[in-house]
């Protein structure tokens, strides 16, 4: 059967080739034969026209009207239609004409296809233009196509072509190559190819002997398709995973094409750069981000020509006061060199750095101020004030005050450092009323010296708290001393303890200068003073409230402030019910 199939195949190929060759030869011969026929017709036409013209002159036909019997006879015998366009000047029997000697010039012949079939040949005959016989005639003849003669070679070519077609039909009609089956197979193959992306959808072709080779081809195709599907699945899954990672990253990632237009931005980039939610694909970096530092670094990266281009950075503070670090690097994409941006939020780092810088500055200032005073007084004493009984005592007292101030400052700094180092807090059973009374009594003298009324408004005798005793004393001392410091003479400071939903609330209220709302958060920062110009000679270190807040937060409580300028302040320290002892 293999041999039979092969024979059929070769027969088909041979007959198709023979058919094509015969057809080409037939067409060439036909054209050659037709050209030869046209040449013969044209030559005969010219000869007939010349003869007819000479006869016209010899018979003096030009003297007779065009519809005369003589004209009709001439045209009938020659097969031509002759029309005089320009008659000779000399007319009549007096002319002596040698028709054979006249010169006849034939202009270019025209072939006009007649719709009903055939050709109309037309030519103009110019006669003896220099003499008295000068005239112009138009001659025409109708020629049928069917006058073409058959050429034996054409017959042979046609026969060969016909035989080739017969063999072709014979090859197509053999069982197994039946046209219907052929069409059916084509349909099946096209269905199989259209089902490429559905695994297992490929159907096997009939297993009859004639389709074994196509079956093998289909199996190979199916294997290739399944392999491609598998690789596609792996790539798709990998891409999906990469996209999920990119979208979940806290670092912003943006890619720009060669024209610096956006091709990709992850969720973090949208949030950090506040890009909004409108469609942004294809927008240029200048339209997306109006941050000069970012656009500058992007432009510079793109213009780099080095083999290993550097990664450039920019630090940006947005209008929302978010600090960003933007890194730009060149990206060699298939469509041209683009730029990749990574954006990280360094607000917290920046704020910590600012706080560190501010703290260092403040500590230096707070230390330098008393030291400068001590140095000044000491130098004055050495320069002669020691011998001045009036001033030397005062100077020494000032030195002692400043030294005490330095000591307090260093003490508070160390205390703050210890609190921030997460110390181990003790848990002691404390009688609230006693502790409050002690704290108030400790500051009564200071209050009275400033004509300030200091009272313990409320302290339940039955209330106990479980916490570090030293921490509670520090909290109360700092709040009370602060209240006294910022209250004018004749004012009052009130200390109270309240129980609310088993939480314990320590309140220190004063009738002092009050604190504007915008400073309620900042008042707990180290060395912060609402009135920057206010002298720190009032004895404060600027750390009291910072210490209170740090201690309270470290042991699980919170601090609240209620205050407004001119209406005094109330500081509340709240400990949740876990601290209270029933």
């Amino acid at each position: 059967m293999q041999t039979w199939t092969s024979t059929i195949r070769w027969t088909w190929i041979a007959s198709a080739t023979w058919t094509v060759i015969c057809f080409i030869v037939y067409v060439m011969l036909t054209n050659w034969q037709y050209d030869a026929w046209k040449e013969t017709i044209a030559s005969d036409f010219h000869s007939d026209v010349r003869a007819a013209i000479r006869l016209v002159y010899a018979s003096h036909l030009s003297d007779q009207p065009a519809n005369s019997p003589a004209w009709e006879q001439l045209q009938s015998e020659s097969g031509l239609r002759i029309v005089a366009i320009e008659l000779p000047r000399v007319m009549g029997e007096s002319r002596s004409i040698d028709a054979m000697s006249i010169e006849i010039e034939l202009k270019a012949m025209e072939w006009s296809k007649v719709p009903s079939g055939g050709w109309n040949l037309v030519v103009e005959a110019h006669i003896d233009q220099t003499g008295p016989l000068a005239g112009v005639y138009r001659a025409s003849r109708f020629v049928k196509d069917s006058t073409r003669e058959q050429n034996p070679l054409l017959v042979a070519g046609g026969l060969g072509w016909g035989i080739g077609l017969l063999f072709l039909a014979f090859a197509l009609l053999i069982p197994g190559w039946n046209v219907d089956q052929w069409i059916e197979r084509l349909n099946r193959w096209s269905d199989s190819i259209s089902k490429v992306r559905q695994p297992g959808a490929l159907t096997l072709l009939p297993t009859d002997d004639l389709t074994l080779s196509s079956q093998k081809w289909m199996n190979e195709l199916k294997a290739a398709i399944e392999g491609t599907e598998q690789r596609w699945g792996i790539a798709s899954s990998s891409l999906q995973q990469t996209m999920e990672i990119l979208q979940g990253m806290p670092i912003g990632v943006m890619t720009l094409d060669a024209s610096l237009k956006l091709t990709f931005a992850n969720r973090a980039a949208f949030e950090l750069l506040n890009l909004g939610s409108t469609e942004l694909q294809g927008k240029s970096i200048w339209e997306l981000v109006r941050q000069p530092k970012i656009t500058k670094v992007v432009r510079e990266v793109r213009e780099q020509n080095e083999a290993n281009p550097a990664i450039l950075e920019a630090e940006v503070e947005t209008r929302e006061q978010v600090f960003l670090r933007v890194r730009a690097s060149k990206w060699h994409a298939t469509t041209g060199d683009g730029v990749i941006l990574t954006i990280t939020d360094e607000t917290r780092l920046q704020r910590l750095e600012n706080m560190r810088r501010e703290f260092t500055t403040n500590v230096s200032h707070e230390l330098k101020t008393p030291l400068a005073a001590i140095k000044a007084y000491a130098e004055t004493l050495l320069l002669g004030a020691l011998d001045d009984p009036v001033h030397r005592l005062r100077f020494v007292e000032r030195i002692s005050e400043q030294t005490q101030r330095l000591e307090n400052l260093i003490h508070d700094l160390l205390k703050l450092a210890r609190i921030q180092d997460s110390p181990v807090w003790k848990s002691e059973r404390i009688h609230i009323a006693s502790k409050m009374r002690n704290a108030v009594e400790a500051y009564r003298a200071v209050a009275e010296s400033r004509s300030i009324s200091l009272t313990l408004a409320n302290a339940p005798e039955s209330a106990f708290i479980s916490m570090d005793s030293e921490a509670l004393v520090t909290i109360l001392n700092n709040l009370i001393s602060n209240a006294i410091r910022y209250t004018s003479p004749k004012g009052s400071v009130q200390v109270a303890v309240k129980l609310a939903d088993r939480a314990m609330i320590f309140e220190v209220s004063d009738t002092g200068i009050g604190i504007p709302q915008e400073f309620h958060e900042r008042i707990f920062e180290r060395f912060f003073r609402v009135d920057a110009a206010r002298s720190s000679d009032d004895g404060g270190t600027g750390l009291g409230l910072a210490i209170v807040k740090n201690i309270v937060q470290a042991i699980g409580g919170r601090v609240e402030l209620e205050s407004s300028p001119g209406h005094g302040s109330t500081f509340r320290v709240i400990f949740p019910d876990t601290f209270t002892i029933p």
């Binding site: 409108t278 109006r290 000069p292 009135d531």
Partner: protein, 232 residues
């Protein structure tokens, strides 16, 4: 639109956006220098101004070159003329930011002078108007532009209140008259910045609808049948 015109427009447009970012940053820094009394920020603003002036001239030259070489019509012509106007407004805003920075410097010797909180509010609103007008220019958003135009009245009203407050301070504290006058200047400059933002918004309305809405009492433009120009 020929390819050359497209490329030239895009280049000038990107340059303008870059300048707009710098001007926004200058305004923000000058306001912080004034309100938060950060003098170094004022220096940074003053240092940036020459570059803005240089870019303004360059952008204008590029626009004039486009007009001469390409003879654009219709939306392209509107776009280029709008860019020239926005360019001019941005340069004026940069100058005003420098003026505010200089006022901040002048108030340095009087740190105890209480700057009216309304100044901060006015600065925030002016900055917001600048930002929104530029957003409207980029996004070709008429409704956003109209919003900016209507905000100008609020800024003008705030300016009047600031003047009243400063007048009271000067009456009650003669030692602060000089500082109050500097503050008053700064408030005026903020009001001018808001006016320029309004101009930009009006230019955006013109760009999109072909309607000039400047100097109109009803301010906001109505939606028109005109098709907005396509992005470069």
């Amino acid at each position: 639109m020929s390819l050359h015109l497209v490329n030239d427009l895009e280049e000038a447009y990107h340059r303008l956006l870059e300048v707009s970012g710098k001007v926004e940053a200058m305004i923000a820094l000058s306001v912080r220098a004034l309100v938060e009394r950060q003098w170094k920020l004022a220096d940074e603003v003053i240092r940036t101004d020459p570059e803005i002036d240089h870019q303004e001239v360059r952008i204008e030259e590029e626009c004039l070159k486009m007009l001469a070489m390409h003879q654009p019509v219709a939306t392209d012509l509107r776009r280029i003329s709008t860019m020239m106007k926005v360019n001019n407004d941005l340069e004026r805003m940069a100058d005003l930011a420098v003026n505010i920075a200089e006022r901040a410097h002048s108030m340095q010797p009087v740190p105890e002078f209480p700057i009216p909180p309304l100044i901060k509010e006015m600065a925030a609103m002016s900055s917001s108007m600048v930002r929104q007008s530029l957003d409207a220019f980029i996004q070709l958003d008429v409704s956003l532009a109209n919003q900016v135009i209507t905000m100008d009245d609020s800024v003008d009203a705030m300016n009047v209140r600031v003047i009243d407050e400063l007048t009271l301070i000067m009456a009650q504290h003669p030692q602060w008259i000089a500082a109050a006058l500097h503050c008053f200047s700064a408030a005026r400059h903020l009001e001018c910045i808001a006016d320029h933002a309004t101009n930009i918004a009006s230019d955006v309305v013109y760009l999109i609808s072909g309607t000039i809405v400047r100097h109109r009492r009803d301010h906001a433009a109505q939606p028109t049948q005109s098709k907005p120009p396509s992005k470069t």
